[in-house]
């Protein structure tokens, strides 16, 4: 099972990112463990300067803006 973390302090883009990933995972029937990381010190551990950031299995794969559907599909595959 993939662990996906969404880094961000609860802004609207962060919420949209989580919703999109959740929805896409359901559609593709992929099991994911989705985590919302809002603590700033935790966010900084990944050296992210633009939120929302997305971390897949411990690797930062995206930063800044709501990811495109095609990107999400790639992470879930």
């Amino acid at each position: 099972m993939k662990n996906i973390k969404v880094l961000g302090s609860g802004c609207s883009n962060c919420r949209a990112t989580i919703e999109r990933i959740e929805q896409r995972a359901n559609e593709l029937h992929v099991d994911v463990e989705l985590e919302k990381v809002e603590e700033i010190q935790e966010i900084m551990r990944f050296n992210v300067m633009s939120t929302p950031g997305v971390v897949v299995d411990g690797v930062l794969v995206h930063a800044g803006g709501v990811p495109k559907p095609a990107q999400i599909d790639q992470w879930l595959r």
């Binding site: 302090s9 990944f46 300067m49 633009s50 800044g64």
Partner: protein, 353 residues
């Protein structure tokens, strides 16, 4: 994660440059057609052609599409510029710069670097960690939300080139001077301790490599379109509301209604505008309807611009977020310096213009 080059299934744009040229021509044609078309439309309506209502309608039907069209153009160009510069790139340009030059660069880069106020804190820490001086970081943080393409585009569309240029120059000046001053005061000790620790040991995690070199024009145009969808999709109701408000009071409320309250003779109007702006929290788009209404009714330009800068650059929620990384004394210094800068800008405008 990185087995092959990503095949993003977003449709590739063919002949992006040709299409860009065609779009530009269409844009200019539309812009030129707006005025005759709005006349035609108002004349076709069964109302008195010389009355207040016709005047208000004409204003609304001409100004709304004009502002939207101009804003779309500006935001699209900014979306393309964003493919050339990222927060990471700006950071590496600013790392190790001294006060003065560094502050001027930071404020200018603040205009073009993609920035969302919700990323202010990560960005702040990321800058410090990479060796960008505190004062230079503040110049960036002050300029980025205040002097952006939305504020400038809307000011330009509604009030013309002169006011937009003045806002740009004054916004940059406040950001540069405030940042320089904060740098001179040597307030590094008032960063929260965990931030200081981070500052002393640079990041180990590589972060994300945001290379922009492999992008072609199809990607850049795509980024421009995304930015338009994002920004214009969000702010258009404010624009319609702003123009409607302007049209509504056009000819109904006396021209000098606000003159005694917020005119240039009222010395206390500028500080009052700055203080009023702090608890108000909205983006550049949200404040425009108010600015439109105030200016139309005789409020002094300096007072109104001071109000606008205060609303955007100084906000209570932002201070609360910054509290996580700054000790109260540094927040107070930051707010005090920026507020004083805006105050001076307001007075200078009122005296000079």
């Amino acid at each position: 994660m990185s087995e092959s080059t990503p095949d993003l299934s977003t449709p590739r744009l063919r002949h992006p440059r040709l299409k860009l040229a065609i779009a530009a021509v269409v844009w200019f044609a539309l812009y030129e057609l707006l005025e005759p078309f709005s006349h035609l439309l108002v004349n076709a309506l069964p109302i008195a052609h010389e009355g207040h209502l016709a005047g208000a309608l004409q204003f609304f039907l001409y100004d709304t599409p004009k502002v939207l069209l101009l804003l779309t153009g500006v935001v699209f160009l900014m979306g393309i510029i964003h493919t050339y510069i990222s927060a990471e790139r700006t950071r590496s340009l600013l790392a190790g710069r001294g006060l003065g030059i560094g502050n001027a660069m930071a404020a200018s880069l603040g205009i073009v670097t993609p920035f969302c106020s919700c990323s202010a804190v990560p960005l702040f820490i990321g800058f410090l960690q990479a060796g960008v001086p505190l004062g230079v970081t503040f110049s960036f943080l002050i300029a980025a939300p205040m002097v952006n393409e939305i504020a400038l585009g809307m000011l330009f569309a509604l009030f013309g080139f002169r006011i937009a240029a003045l806002y740009l120059a004054m916004g940059l000046l406040v950001a540069i001077l405030a940042g320089t001053l904060i740098g001179r005061l040597r307030l590094e000790g008032y960063l929260e301790d965990w931030v200081r620790e981070l500052q002393q040991k640079p990041a180990v995690a590589p972060g994300i490599a945001q290379t922009t070199s492999h992008l072609d024009w199809s990607d850049r145009v795509g980024s421009g379109l995304d930015h338009v969808r994002d920004v214009v999709g969000k702010v258009w109701p404010y624009i319609v509301a702003g123009v409607a408000l302007g049209a509504g009071i056009h000819g109904y409320v006396p021209e000098d209604f606000m003159a005694s309250l917020m005119g240039r003779d009222a010395w206390w109007a500028v500080p009052a505008a700055v203080v009023l702006g702090v608890p108000m929290y909205t983006n550049a788009a949200g404040v425009i309807p108010i600015v439109e209404a105030l200016l139309a009714k005789g409020a002094a330009l300096g007072t109104v611009l001071a109000f606008m800068m205060s609303v955007i650059a100084l906000s209570a929620p932002e201070m609360l977020i910054l509290r996580k990384v700054l000790k109260p004394r540094l927040i107070a210094t930051f707010a005090g310096i920026v507020a004083s800068g805006i105050l001076v800008v307001g007075y200078v405008f009122n005296i000079v213009l």
